[in-house]
């Protein structure tokens, strides 16, 4: 397994090197304001990371992503558990969530700007509304996939509702929750940039808007890379949590 993992990592690194090389070739052919050299982009990226005021923008965006995802996760979990126990509630709530899923992120941005004044509340609202349906449906699926056999076995000991939740429901939905976080993370990163681009005075999206106004491609690339790095780090963290939380599964069953 270690060998195949090493090979996979090497292949991933190689593909990134090829991409950077192609970009570098373009920078020799086209003007630098269109394709800045790779070393320039890397220098700007490092500059953002070591300059406190610029790093604050990255951290602000990260906080907005986490805030939005956490809000949607809590709300989605409650909704999923309520829907999972009542067909009537499902009949009322599921169509609304499906309807919300069809609304483009940009429309939520426009609605938020019209409805609310505070920037942070606007961003939070947009993040929650765009990720809530996915969180709800994914956690609901995990809840529904709970084994009837294990439910009957646990009920034979006559547990309280809280004990049933702690010992059976939580471990059952953990894999679904982790998948929901992984799926929604990428989605949230894209949405937050749009929200910041249109209606914020700080964060990666706002900085991208500034780079566009300055026609600074190296800056735009460097700020984009901040977001990509952030998503990669969080995704690896979720993978590590997943490997720990699902360590009971045979290695062949776990995500490799």
């Amino acid at each position: 397994m270690t060998n195949s993992r090493s090979v996979r990592i090497l292949q991933a690194v190689a593909s990134m090197i090829v991409l950077a090389a192609v970009w570098q070739l373009f920078s020799y052919t086209f003007p630098h304001y269109l394709f800045p050299p790779v070393p320039d982009v890397i220098a700007r990226t490092i500059d953002i990371l070591i300059t406190g005021s610029l790093l604050a923008d990255v951290l602000l965006t990260a906080a907005r992503i986490f805030g939005g995802l956490f809000g949607a996760f809590i709300l989605g979990s409650v909704l999923a558990l309520v829907i999972g126990q009542s067909k009537t509630v499902e009949n009322f709530v599921a169509p609304v969530l499906t309807f919300f899923q069809g609304i483009p992120a940009l429309s939520w941005v426009v609605f938020a700007i019209i409805w609310f004044h505070g920037i942070e509340f606007r961003v939070l609202f947009i993040m929650v509304m765009t990720t809530l349906p996915a969180f709800t449906f994914q956690i609901l699926d995990a809840f529904r996939s709970m084994s009837k056999d294990l439910f009957e076995m646990t009920m034979s000991f006559r547990p309280s509702r809280w004990t049933l939740f702690r010992f059976l429901i939580v471990p059952t939905i953990v894999p679904g929750i982790l998948t929901a976080w992984k799926v929604n993370l990428g989605n949230a990163a894209r949405v937050v940039v749009v929200a910041e681009l249109v209606g914020a005075t700080g964060g990666v999206g706002y900085q991208l808007l500034r780079q566009q106004q300055l026609f600074d491609m190296a800056g735009a690339m460097a700020w984009t890379l901040q977001l990509v790095l952030f998503v990669l780090i969080v995704q690896q963290t979720i993978n590590a949590i997943e490997n720990w939380a699902l360590r009971y599964r045979a290695v062949s069953e776990r995500a490799m």
Partner: protein, 261 residues
């Protein structure tokens, strides 16, 4: 409940399920009546689909009968949910181990639900795993255990809460005969040693004869078709019949050998 009262009493119990295709109700248990006394091991025998498991689920309080009276320890098992906490232990057909819990944690489940003090609970769980020959496997997850070992864990889980009644729904049917025989002997020994009342569902005649003090044979839908107590005289009679059969076979063999000579 007095000592003379049966531990389990069914009086004209009927359970029907609605068919999904709208063809009326499917009767699984039909006016079933029987009694089981304290300390008895009763084997319930019947063909697949005869309502054994439905009867089992009624005793376990997992489903409610449509009519008749089902009493367990003098109480209604479906409605008196709290009363039965820790009083019934169940060994299911498949082990039903939680895959995210180690063998030890699976045995601990019932004790944790019953709010047993953690140290006492762990001591009890380890003791039961050792009794069932699983010492050294406490930290193994179910996927790392064999079918027989997993079923041993589920037996330990049922015994660990020290229930008054043990319900077993064909617990060894998925195991190979050698493992099943060992576990059957182990199970009967533990039930007798700990003075439990046990209901053992099976569709194998040999298994029912091996385990039960009494055998109830079910018709389809569940109704008592035949009932026998396997006391010493019945076993002696059976032994005499086997002896006679063996003698008959041996004398035929001797006559054949003489004729050839």
């Amino acid at each position: 409940m007095t000592n003379a009262e049966p531990v389990i009493r069914f009086k004209n119990v009927t359970k029907a399920f609605r068919r999904r295709d709208g063809r009326g109700d499917f009767v699984a248990v039909d006016k079933l009546s029987f009694e089981i006394a304290k300390g008895e091991i009763v084997a319930v025998l019947g063909k697949t689909g005869c309502g054994k498991s439905t009867m089992f689920n009624i005793v376990a309080g997992l489903i409610e009968p449509n009519s008749g009276e089902a009493r367990v320890l003098g109480h209604d098992p479906f409605h008196e949910f709290e009363f039965f906490r820790g009083k019934i232990g169940i060994v299911f057909q498949n082990d039903r181990l939680m895959p995210w819990r180690s063998a030890l944690d699976n045995v601990l489940l019932g004790l944790q639900i019953l709010d047993t003090a953690p140290k006492q609970a762990e001591h009890t769980a380890r003791q039961w795993l050792t009794r069932l020959g699983l010492s050294g496997h406490e930290n193994d997850y179910p996927h790392a255990l064999s079918g027989g070992m997993r079923q041993r864990v589920s037996i330990a889980r049922a015994f660990a809460v020290d229930p008054e009644i043990l319900l077993c729904d064909e617990p060894f049917s998925a195991l190979d005969e050698m493992t099943a025989r060992d576990l059957r002997a182990e199970f009967v020994r533990l039930v007798r040693q700990n003075n439990k009342t046990a209901v053992f569902i099976t569709h194998q005649i040999n298994e029912a004869m091996e385990i039960g003090d009494r055998v109830l044979v079910f018709h389809r839908p569940a109704r008592i078709a035949y009932e026998t107590r396997l006391d010493a005289s019945v076993i002696e009679q059976a032994r005499r019949k086997v002896q006679e059969d063996i003698m008959r076979v041996l004398s035929v063999d001797a006559a054949t050998a003489e004729a050839h000579a």
